[in-house]
């Protein structure tokens, strides 16, 4: 039986009603009464949750916009570019659940066996250079992702590992054929970097968009770019949703330092920032003219174990460390630097994540170590290290909070609980990758945006599967590999949930990493900024500001 996804007008109005309440509760000051605007309706036609929207103005957004290049599929930063593009679908909170909603695809069908995805594309959409959007663009985009031309490094290829082929069936229909089902695939299509480039741009630039900002179909168009300073994006007057955007332009201000972003918003030099420092968040919380939120992200702090080096090649040693080191203590040490939250192998915002109150009852995760440390010592003794280990190498990046706070805290825990002595070695972040590739570490501590989905499969495929593209710990767990293949394929939600729980148990018993926690982004804004809908999106989704408006 085919599954259809279609948002009716009634569904959309329910969403608007629910999100208005939610937004008012989180943002504070209700909007002033201003003339109402017409709301377009239909699948994916978003609009601001507030009733009377004011048009015009320029939003000044403070964040990190500098990226080495402009090709989102080759790893460019979405923050500076996503505003200009659309994907086939995007993720939104609908009725309290994170759901794929239409973007460039009006609707879609998934075959009963989960191996055919058919997207029915919106009509009348144009790229910023006037080129009409058709299925040929989707086909060209995904052919590049699935089979990158020589010389290109399409970082998204691994996310679509189950997809065999993409085909433009007709002008408004595109079909993806899979080798085997992937129940999480819609979420992968909704990843912020998974934008649809025009075939024309791809052909004109030999498939390589690193050096050009290709035209998009998004609500904003590039007006001006000043390297290392800012980008100005103007409203797209021909956007396929005629009601938005409400503002005239967005100014993206490049402020790489988190505190600078916060001071910019607090002093009125900027209107909002998607991620600022904890101190600035606390300042914003004290002020009545500021809104704030802590948004879950797909980034996390971890410690790699080198599973091919003694003594960490013994799963008992890794398990012992994971039992003995306290998550809670590390989070406490770090809480004034970043908002890292307690979770395990899955982002905490995922439906499949173990809730913190249940996680805290499990060995290794519980706050009290009275039972865990003796068990850890027993495992160490069994592995042949009753007196601990000396001379281990703990590598971290030359980021102050990593090298001077987290790494020493982890080092101290290893020493106090299991008498494992380690030496902290600090290297530049760009060099860290080379250490991993060469296996020149015992432990490596870092923060990572390893995944861009809440579903665990994409992360686990690249990081934990034997031979995975980012499996730098050289972890190999055949029972986990076999279970992961089932998790990847399973379409029944309830069975899949059980399998994911079993997989997490396997990872707990034989861990490749120590998960310190998952990051929240500290979003702050001036109260006159409306339409953000932070309660309906993850941190990464904040690279789209379609419905934002200024109540001033």
């Amino acid at each position: 039986m085919a599954t259809k996804q279609k948002m009716t007008r009634r569904d959309m109005l329910k969403v608007l009603a629910g999100s208005t309440t939610g937004f008012l509760l989180t943002a504070g000051t209700p909007s002033q009464s201003v003339p109402s605007s017409k709301t377009a309706s239909g699948p994916g036609f978003l609009s601001a949750p507030e009733a009377n929207v004011r048009r015009g103005g320029v939003v000044r957004w403070a964040g990190h916009i500098q990226a080495p290049h402009f090709d989102l599929h080759q790893g460019a930063l979405p923050w500076s570019l996503n505003f200009m593009y659309n994907g086939l679908v995007r993720m939104y909170m609908v009725d309290g659940r994170r759901t794929a909603v239409p973007d460039l695809a009006e609707r879609w069908e998934v075959s009963p066996d989960g191996k055919i995805y058919t997207f029915f594309l919106r009509d009348g959409v144009k790229y910023h250079d006037g080129t009409p959007f058709t299925s040929a663009d989707v086909e060209a985009t995904f052919k590049r992702i699935l089979s990158p031309p020589a010389g290109l490094a399409i970082t998204m290829t691994g996310l679509f590992e189950g997809v065999e082929n993409v085909q433009a069936v007709d002008r408004r229909t595109v079909r993806f054929s899979l080798k085997e089902p992937r129940s999480y695939l819609l979420e992968v299509f909704a990843v912020p970097q998974c934008v649809i480039y025009s075939k024309r741009s791809l052909d004109a630039n030999n498939q390589d968009l690193r050096k050009v900002i290709a035209p998009g179909t998004g609500p904003y168009m590039l007006k001006e770019r000043r390297e290392g300073e800012k980008m100005i994006l103007a409203r797209n007057p021909n956007y396929w949703n005629p009601d938005i955007p409400y503002i005239d332009a967005i100014e993206l201000l490049h402020l790489p330092e988190w505190t600078d972003r916060g001071t910019a918003v607090l002093t009125g030099r900027a209107d909002m920032s998607p991620n600022t420092s904890v101190e600035m968040l606390r300042e914003a919380q004290k002020r009545s003219d500021m809104g704030w939120a802590q948004q879950p992200s797909e980034s996390l702090y971890i410690v790699y174990y080198n599973c091919q080096r003694k003594p960490l090649n013994d799963a008992r040693v890794r398990r012992a460390i994971s039992l003995a080191v306290s998550h809670q203590d590390l989070l406490k040490v770090f809480e004034s630097y970043e908002g890292v939250k307690f979770s395990s192998w899955i982002p905490r915002a995922s439906d499949l994540a173990t809730p913190p109150d249940q996680l805290e009852k499990r060995p290794g995760y519980r706050p009290g170590k009275a039972e865990d440390i003796p068990e850890a010592k027993r495992l160490m003794a069994e592995a042949g290290y009753p007196d601990g280990v000396k001379g281990m190498d703990l590598v971290c990046a030359s980021v102050a909070s990593h090298a001077q706070v987290l790494a020493p805290a982890f080092q101290d825990q290893l020493k106090r609980t299991l008498n494992i002595e380690s030496k902290i070695r600090v290297v530049e972040r760009g060099v860290l990758i080379e250490e991993w590739k060469a296996g020149r570490f015992d432990f490596s501590l870092f923060s990572h945006a390893l995944t861009t989905t809440l579903d665990p499969s994409p992360l686990w495929n690249v990081s934990f599967k034997t031979g995975g593209a980012q499996n730098y710990p050289r972890y190999s767990n055949p029972p986990f590999d076999r279970l992961l293949e089932q998790v990847n394929r399973e379409l029944n939600a309830s069975r899949r949930r059980q399998m994911v729980a079993q997989a997490q148990d396997l990872l707990d018993e034989n861990p490749p990493w120590f998960v310190i926690g998952w990051l929240d982004y500290n979003v702050i804004w001036r109260n006159y900024v409306k339409g953000l809908e932070v309660d309906k999106r993850l941190a990464s989704d904040l690279s789209r500001l379609d419905t934002i408006w200024l109540d001033k």
Binding site: P68, G75, E227, A270, S299, Q470
Partner: protein, 319 residues
């Protein structure tokens, strides 16, 4: 003098060649392959496999032998092309045109401030040798020499934000466009740098003036009945200027390269931050060309300082 200048300019050429060789080799030798990872905020790491690395290297011309890459670069320089950003094709001349005026303005203001602070303090300190003023000023000067300029900058920003809910503008605004906004942006960093440099300037001025104060011609001038002010400002300072000029040249050269820490503290998008961004992004072309530019600036400034010796001290004549 003209032949001297010509000789110095000719000598600059092998010096600059040396700079190009050093920076070219440094980029190739130092760890950190730009193609091994593309990173973004939060350390997002997307890594290339060996095959992808090889192909990407070839697409950027990095598969050529080192000597071929070097000669390509030198040939481009000889044609007057400063090159483009490694990744984004942004002409480096665009980066310079936009940021150099701000960096230059901050540097000039900082040097002027260092003179305004350092010269009077240094001269007075020397003239009132071992007095309360001398001891007090030396303590203050030592304190400001010890305090890092970026800390001073951060404290400025902190005070402004917390007491006045105000911070300098984030956009580049030139003096000719909007003097008020421009000064809001540049006064902070130049004051921060100027205070630190002023402290060093005061020390140098003090020791230089002290040396000259004990010269015979100064004693003669006093014996002739000249006022002390006229002696100090008309005779002593003129003869004590050489070390002060040398120091001014050195700091001007340093500041033209951009004070990274202060630019970061004030979020001023100057040349220093441009170099740091290029280093993080492993943008070899930008790094190489900026370092070469800084080398050229230093050579020019040294030449200007040397010429100024001849203007200040008639005894110095170049042939």
């Amino acid at each position: 003098m003209q032949s001297y200048i010509a000789r110095r300019l000719l000598l600059a050429i092998p010096t600059l060649f040396g700079v190009t060789l050093l920076i070219f080799l440094a980029m190739r030798v130092l760890p950190g392959d730009p193609l091994s990872a593309v990173t973004g905020e939060g350390g997002a790491v997307f890594v290339l496999n060996e095959e992808q690395l090889k192909a990407a290297r070839a697409s950027l011309g990095l598969d050529k032998p080192y000597y071929a890459q070097y000669l390509d670069w030198i040939a481009a320089l000889a044609r007057g092309e400063l090159g483009k950003s490694f990744w984004k094709d942004t002409p480096i001349s665009e980066i310079l045109a936009r940021r150099a005026p701000i960096t230059f303005q901050v540097a000039l203001m900082a040097v002027i401030l260092s003179w305004l602070i350092g010269l009077p303090v240094g001269v007075l300190s020397a003239v009132k040798y071992h007095s309360g003023f001398d001891v007090g000023s030396r303590i203050v000067v030592t304190l400001f020499m010890a305090v890092p300029s970026f800390w001073l900058g951060l404290m400025f920003i902190l005070l402004l934000v917390s007491l006045f809910s105000w911070r300098p503008p984030l956009d580049i605004v030139y003096l000719s466009e909007d003097p008020a906004a421009n000064l809001q942006m540049t006064l902070g960093p130049s004051l921060t740098l100027g205070i630190g440099m002023g402290a060093v300037m005061a020390r140098i001025t003090r020791s230089s003036v002290l040396e000259v104060l004990h010269e015979e011609y100064v004693r003669t001038a006093r014996a002739k009945g000249l006022r002390e002010r006229a002696i100090v400002w008309g005779h002593v300072l003129k003869n004590a200027m050489l070390p002060i000029l040398t120091f001014s040249g050195v700091i001007m050269g340093q500041l033209l390269a951009g004070s990274v820490a202060v630019e970061r503290a004030f979020s001023v998008p100057g040349l220093g931050l441009a170099l740091v961004s290029a280093i993080y992004e492993r943008d070899w072309m930008v790094i190489q060309n900026l370092v070469l530019l800084y080398g050229g600036i230093y050579i020019l400034i040294n030449l200007v300082v040397d010429i100024s010796y001849a203007l200040v001290d008639p005894r110095i004549r170049y042939r």
